[in-house]
Amino acid sequence: MAEPVPQLPPEQPSLFSDAGDLGYGTGPIFDEMVTGTGHLRPHWQQFFAAHGPFTPEQMAAKWAAARQRLFLNGVTFNSYRDPQGTERPWPLDPVPLLLSAPEWRAIGAGLVQRATLIEKVLEDFYGPQTLLADGTIPPGLLYADPGYLRACQGLKVPGGRRLVLFAADLVRDGDGQWRVLTCRTEAPTGVGYALENRAVLSQTLADPFRACNVERLSPFFEALRAAVARAAPQCSGVDGHPRAVLLTPGPFNEAYFEHAYLARHLRMTLAEGADMVVRDQAVYLKTLAGLERVDVILHRVDDAFCDPLELRVDSALGVPGLLQAVRAGSVAVVNALGSGMAESMALLAHMPALSRRLLGEELLLADVPTFWGGDEGQRAALLAQLDRMVMRPAFSSLPGHVANGPDLGEDAREALAARIRARPQDWAGQLPVAPSTAPLWRDGRVEPRPLVVRAFLCASGDGGWTVMPGGLVRISADARHAAVSLQEGAGSKDLWVVGAEPLGTVRRLISAPPDGAREPSPVPGNLPSRAADHLFWVGRYAERAASAVRLLRGATLRLSDDSRPAAREELSPLLRLMGRATLIPQEIAQLPDSDAARGMRQALEIAVDPANPGSLVATTGRLRRAMGSVRDRLPLDSRQVLGRLDVLGASLAKADRAALAVLLGDFSQVLAAQTGLELDSMPRGAGWRFLVLGRRLERAIDAVERLQASGIAHERPDAATQEVLLELAEAGPAYRERFPVGVQREAALSLLLTDPEHPHSLLFQLETIRRQVSRLPSLPAFGAAGGADPLVRLGDLVAQASYRVQDLALTRDMGLLSATLFQLGWALPDVSNLLSQAYFSHVHARAA
């Protein structure tokens, strides 16, 4: 429990809370932390009592800790504007925004009213349209909006709730009044980021977090999970729970991190449109075990892209036939398709009238004054105040940018006015609000910056709403505007609702805890084929990277340490093997021994050059992408591996030789950490099997290629070649234990090839592959098209390969070895292809 803290009257300057003491400027604008006279607001006092003043040292440490934790957790968002399309770290400010519990409750009541109203409006628009018939709404507001989806007219809403998750952006104006800037009804983004922000700040600011009695977020997520489950028209899970899927546009979407995070947190299956198929007017997930019925879909793909059959034909992100399945009542899509139109500015301009008409109430939470060009009276007001207005597209699905009236010159304003007169219904304007400010930590000090709060509500079981006691606060980099988005690179803050009564006595808006039978469940144990494919390649790329790291470490060691015996001689075989691994071009790999040192210096640069598609940096990039695509299926701490790989890949590309040796050591540790996580933290399901298959197959292919490149089957190897081969197979110590000196081809080969106990021997790989293949899920309904079962062929191929390698003559009979290596050289890639055809691609052709 928090220690009692003496409450200081706001008029009396406290020991450490005066705005002047903080070096925090105050102005005419409402500030969340200090009053106009520079005094700390009462609900911040407890925070400062526990936190202490904002000293640069302390804040820098907190900031670094928060950044580090976010980075390690892999929190990112993708920027569409960045030409590289790369992920950017999520910017979180180390100072939370504090709001008092009574104030938040008042806001919550306004939000509940707003969500109730919007749900009624949507119910009317997609139903009887009485609001048009009685003149409350001009028909153009509906019919001119591309977001009004006629195909969704009259569509069933299983569970009766159109909006399961609702969000609104709020700003506080100069008078201290909160106003609604926009509403989010299609697929509101940000709940996951809000949760992650909380996870980070509650740890980095543990003391103030405890002292302030901050309301917890977890009950909201329980309520959200239950709300999604209630929407399901039936429960298809073998466990009696509804099967829930989170539909994502995929890893290139700006908020993919959130999709993966939320799916894991809500225990839903993360899937892309291509992972699902409609059969018999029902939606199924394509899994390794066949088609699995889906009951409810939380979509993060925009409404119009969800079904290319009935909505946008050009969408590759949706599920063809989804609307028909919804129409047939076999699946629920939340929020209901077509709900996106309630985000329109044109509708916002009619909210007061709608509230009076549908609820018989005035709005509890005012809007930012909004004018729609499609309405004659509002159009006049809009054009008359164009020099003050922030102009936006009237409908959320219209393309177009925000035009800020005060920023426009005379000519530009005239041109805009002409465009508005030509198509007035496409435009809406909002009067500017000077948003309230909160302290942002920047460049060693706190500065006031304008903020927007995104608040979230989810449908509760009694027909009402649950308000998240918190939210996502976004900070504008520009001191003037409240218009901030993830894309515009603004910072974010955690929102703390503080000073509530201790838990237990608080009356909560939360629905009863979800009853067991309606918990959503991911499709159990069954892996989407796409995820299996990615896991397989995580395995292959991870081993490929590990093999390259071993080669390069061997090379740097020998270049830098001349005292090492035979360092020079061993460069040549290393170069040949690097060529075989396509790390370097053949003309360098085949340089004569006399040129090996010079060649190796050049080779080390090429091997980490990002422009070289075979380089370690390029392989790392592929590994990161594959891991990123299935991060929801890897152990939680793999996010840290992913973050480290990101940095290592970038550092390798610009490292000098001394730095390279250190980086390669780090690299080796990170890869080993991932291997350890897989072994220790992953359940032995189908996903794990594909990961292991990828790893063992890559290692087996690598071993065969290495033996072929070494020429060991054709001539007795020199000491240097044998040493390098043993080292790369981590077999040096085992060999020396048996043969302290000398070159023993037979003994070396038995370690490399036929030793069943050595984890780098070829036989060890093949036996593991054989075991895992035999445990793969069978291919249901295979054989409709005739031909042999690919699983049988796969088993045969692996068994034959293993049988050949168990032949003890292999280590003595070089003709036999050569023939066997040749055989395996094509058979192993064939195993990879067969797996891919059977499980990853051909799944599409399978009958239900």
Binding site: L132, P139, D280, R327
Partner: protein, 161 residues
């Protein structure tokens, strides 16, 4: 908006049509499964009665679901799960048209009057807005049409002869 009808027009008898409409697709590679939306019959209108007698799909579909779309057009959702190289849909229709008396075009209200009412008139308001996924209205077409609508002229101008 009532349409003025000139007096003493002869009453014409209804006409009944039996129609067969066949659509065929051929593919170069085998189609394993398909879903389609088909609009194969006319909608009900004053003076137009339409009955779909039969819809035949080859190969035989797994699912056929009939409904009316937002505009009232008969709409078929068809799902086929049989691998096929050819697809055909045959629809047989029974349509009865009852000629309605032709309006006195010259006596219709001035077009400006109608245009001013349209945005508030539910039956037409939808059709004065641009279609969401069609190109924006063309100024050239607007100029061409304007030639037929002189100021104060009737809203249904008689075709030029």
């Amino acid at each position: 908006m009532s349409t003025p009808v000139p007096p003493d027009q002869p009453r014409l008898p209804p006409v009944r049509y039996r129609c067969r409409h066949i659509t065929r697709y051929s593919y170069t590679v085998q189609v394993v499964s398909s879903q389609l939306i088909a609009h194969l019959g006319p909608r009900e209108l004053p003076g137009q009665r339409a009955r779909v007698l039969a819809v035949t799909v080859e190969p035989p579909p797994a699912v056929v679901a009939e409904r009316l779309d937002w505009l009232g057009n008969p709409t078929s959702y068809v799902a086929i799960d049989t691998p096929h190289l050819d697809l055909s849909m045959t629809v047989e229709l029974d349509v009865t048209l009852t000629p309605r008396p032709a309006p006195d075009l010259a006596a219709t209200p001035a077009w400006e009057e109608i245009a001013a009412q349209a945005p508030r008139h539910l039956a037409v308001a939808e059709f004065i807005e641009a279609s969401p996924r069609l190109p924006q209205p063309s100024p050239a077409l607007a100029a061409f049409a304007a030639g037929s609508f002189p100021p104060g002229g009737p809203s249904a101008p008689a075709p030029a002869t």
